[in-house]
């Protein structure tokens, strides 16, 4: 595979895996925060909102400290692997998924929650119903999460190590090629990155529009 093709593939794979993991964990957490009351809920929400602005290199640094060879997770030999990038991107983007999903769920009318609670019987069904009602907002949360992880460079560089054909993503390749003075390849990669980000947003927008019309 060409360097360009491999960077695109690695970027898409890691970003999609990290976004899917964020959805898997983030949507239930957002439901819990939206439906149930518990002590410390506000603190959790404020902390998640604060984490939206966390720099990617700080996340990279934190995860690096956890998975470096002589740390307690060092035995797993995750450092400088695609899995390490996925873990870092998951940590980076989970707050985005939770906060945006929570916002989508709580922006439903109060009557939606009341109706789901009085008719839904189990918390699982209530949560599924509300996720279905807020699906446009939740898809937007997924898009924002994907956009955040596919375009980040700090985590991919620190945890992936920028190994050609293995952990070199589009963003780390752009940084490297620019440093080498290879602007042509860097520009190509930048163009593809923008096209992917715009393409995902455009597709989601069209799907939402089609469903609303239907």
């Amino acid at each position: 595979m060409t360097p360009l093709g491999s960077a695109v593939t690695i970027s898409l794979t890691t970003a999609l895996c990290a976004s899917a993991l964020c959805a898997l964990v983030g949507i239930p957490v957002a439901c819990l925060l939206a439906i149930r009351d518990f002590v410390g809920k506000r603190v959790v929400l404020r902390a998640l909102e604060a984490l939206l602005a966390i720099p990617t290199v700080v996340v990279g640094l934190g995860v690096y400290a956890l998975i470096r060879r002589d740390s307690w997770m060092g035995g797993l030999e995750l450092l400088f692997t695609p899995q390490a990038i996925i873990i870092g991107q998951f940590v980076l983007a989970l707050p985005i998924m939770v906060v945006f999903c929570h916002s989508a769920l709580t922006s439903l009318e109060r009557e939606a929650l009341d109706t789901a609670r009085t008719l839904g019987v189990s918390w699982g069904r209530i949560a599924r119903t509300l996720v279905s009602e807020a699906r446009f907002g939740i898809v937007a949360a997924f898009t924002a999460t994907f956009g955040r992880v596919i375009g980040e460079v700090g985590v991919a560089m620190m945890l992936g190590g920028n190994i050609a054909g293995y952990t070199r993503t589009m963003t780390t390749a752009i940084a490297l090629e620019t440093a080498k003075g290879e602007f042509g390849l860097a520009l190509w990669l930048g163009g593809i990155l923008v096209a992917i980000a715009l393409g995902v947003n455009l597709t989601v927008g069209l799907l939402r529009g089609a469903e609303r019309v239907a």
Binding site: E109, D114, T115, T118, L119, G120, S122, R125, S132, E133
Partner: protein
Amino acid sequence: MELLAARDLQKRYGDRLALDVERLSLCAGTQTVLVGANGSGKTTLLRILGGLDRPSQGRVVRGCDPASLIFVGQRPYLFLGTVSKNLLYGIRARRQSLDPVELDRISRDLDICHLLGRDGQTLSSGERQRVALARALLCRPRVLLLDEPLAHLDERSRESLADELSRRQQEGMAMMLSAHQPPEDGLFGGEVVRIENGVMPWPRTTTS
């Protein structure tokens, strides 16, 4: 048989005491009409009884399964999708089997047969109200709490609803509905209870 009871219920919003109910009891086969002006505490009381809000003080004791207690608000919400999907929601959640005869009768009585294939979001307030009432009745609740269900209903729908509620009452369902004014004579049986500034004296004859 007492299906729902409350003792020393209070609800405060800051310093304001919105609800102060010493005692209340809904028994099987009874209908209670809660009458009060805007802001008198009707919705607050029904929401607390329905388990949607917590009282600041006091407690509600249920004598039935929580799934058999249904609250229908004054601005009914229909889920995304068709009216049919909405009607079946509660039944599916309870893993109950659908009785087609009952579905047909309730749909005809509440005049929603022609709406079954429609998108729930495109209905008028009155149509939404009728669909929400049918959806609740199809679940065969043992306690039904209706917050101003007559607000958007025409005369025919009111009479049909009253007939259906009377039928359910005979089968043992307890019902409490709220209204600004007592409904026309004979439309709903049972006790009329007045609530004023959150205070509701509970008549002794209504308790078990």
